[in-house]
Symmetry: C2
Subunit: 341 residues, 2 copies
């Protein structure tokens, strides 16, 4: 069993992106514009047409079974439009992910985005999170630690500002992937810089905080192999030590997990060597940030299963990474896969 814990709906029908464009154009013309969900329509066939030759085909070819599937990350664009458009947009994107999962119940299990907006209290997102989990069988969420789009104007994720989300996550027993979205700062390319910086930054915020004393069962996945963190594991161990903090094991590794979206063998080897196996979840972010074929290997850069297969770890470790850890982090996964949500 191979579960990919990090897939986005990057093959959405044109109708969805067109709706978003008209929504943002509406706000440009009139800041009080209220978008209508009724303006959006697309057929199941349109969805199948895009999913079949991409995610579905690649799952089959690469030998993964289930993808934990969420709206396109850069598409969340929490810094765009208004708080109101963000609400409508999150609802529609989450509904579309639910539909994709209904069309391919063997292939996808849903994770939601939230209607975040810079400067707006995260507690406003609680109803959508509850709707997704309680009414639509979602098993987790993507939480954007920087809804301002690389301007980083909201408080760190360890601030009480965010607690209503965490209280709801604990209540529902769902984990969050801490995943930023697009960048409106010309210094940061989104997938080449902002994503990796976001991953690194949230880890350091957690290192300095006692958040997991407040919320011992809270679970976060840091995507893209943890940004710079495993490569600099010694630096982070040393910083924690210099600051008189507990060891990273004790402080973070009951609550923080890393995915395997690292697109070459040496990087994966570094990840597997320094991070305990129990904290690593298989992922490829397919179809996502990097789409080409690596001329050095002849396979897609993001075909991360090959790197795990080739890694010098035991079969039992591989089983943990490929699926067992996903079942323990996503407590609702098993039920969702049995179709009884």
């Amino acid at each position: 069993m191979i579960i990919d814990c990090h897939g986005h709906y990057t093959t959405e029908p044109d109708a969805l992106t067109d709706y978003r464009k008209s929504q943002l154009a509406g706000v440009d013309n009139d800041p009080n514009f209220v978008p209508s969900e009724a303006d959006f329509n697309c057929s199941d066939d349109e969805m199948r047409e895009r999913l079949e030759p991409a995610q579905i085909k690649l799952q089959r070819e690469r030998g993964s079974d289930v993808t934990i599937f969420s709206p396109r990350a850069v598409g969340m664009g929490h810094h765009l439009g208004t708080a109101k458009t963000s609400e409508y947009w999150a609802t529609i994107c989450n509904n579309m992910v639910r539909r994709a999962c209904d069309l391919y119940p063997e292939n996808f299990v849903p994770v939601c985005q939230l209607p975040q907006y810079p400067g707006v209290e995260p507690k406003k997102c609680v109803p959508e999170l509850k709707r997704c989990v309680n009414k639509m069988g979602f098993i987790g969420l993507n939480l954007n630690p920087d809804p301002s789009g690389a301007m980083w104007t909201d408080p760190p994720i360890t601030d009480k500002w965010w607690y209503p989300i965490y209280e709801t996550m604990v209540e529902l027993d769902v984990p969050a992937m801490l995943h930023v979205s697009g960048s409106c700062n010309p210094n940061f390319h989104h997938t080449g810089s902002h994503y990796l910086c976001g991953d690194t930054t949230v880890f350091m915020q957690l290192l300095m905080s006692d958040l997991f004393k407040e919320f011992p069962t809270l679970k976060f996945i840091i995507p893209h192999g943890g940004g710079a963190v495993p490569y600099h594991w010694g630096r982070f161990r040393g910083l924690a030590q210099d600051m008189g903090r507990p060891t990273l094991d004790e402080l973070l590794l009951n609550n923080v997990y890393f995915d395997t979206c690292v697109y070459h063998q040496a990087g994966i080897d570094c990840l597997l060597e320094v991070i305990p196996t129990k904290n690593i979840l298989f992922a490829s972010e397919m179809v996502g940030a990097v789409r080409g074929v690596d001329p050095e290997t002849g396979f897609n850069y993001d075909d991360t299963k090959r790197y795990i297969d080739a890694a010098d770890i035991s079969g039992e470790q591989k089983a943990q990474i490929f699926s067992e850890n996903a079942f323990s982090v996503f407590s609702r996964l098993e039920q969702a896969m049995s179709g009884s949500n």
Copy 2:
């Protein structure tokens, strides 16, 4: 011969930090305050007292010969005070580095900071760069790609905004380490997040630009092992490919170098595996970001020579990393070491 290309004057006398405090307090009270260099005095003995038991002792113990030595990175604080205080502060810090090098001519070779200030054109820094190199024998500079202190309000380093610095670097044939300073954004811890994010971000900026077509002899060192870059080398190779850019080899590796400030063996092994040996310069950032002893090894985290010694590369490769590459990147190093500057 072992040359550490990344050392900061982190053991400065109290007189220097006191001067800075009074300078910033002066500006707080009166934005037009002009600081006086005359307010700053310290004796050679005060300098020796702090350097001897730290950098000098550690060089001897760890077996490195020469440190390329620059002002404290977080101390640059380009976002603090005013453009005028930044000028005075850069001058004094650079003079102090020169004095430290004069006190220990066998141990240190100087690199300068610039009087950068957010929103102020970098060309204003050219006179100080020329003074340091032409009149005081400095062999390189630290260039802060984000003088706003983690607010990232200035243009990317590939923007023409920065060209006067690059023209001067080419004219003087000196390389720059692209090193950010402190953070005034509570999201970013300076050494645990802002530094690594800065390193990653400048690399992606360079990947998207043709800067080195404009300046074929320009040389940049990306510190802290390149932030997240070597760990995500496949991602960056794939992004360049997806964007229709040349290979990273062709695009960047005649001009971009990485240091070895990565504080554990697995990270160094990853760096050495993916980055060509010719692009790696030995460094420890001693005494710097991480000061403790790693309980897993019994040695200091930042005793990076041990990781290179233990790495599975040839003796010739080690010689390149430990010193040969430094001589080729810092064209003025040999002359500076012979004392004939």
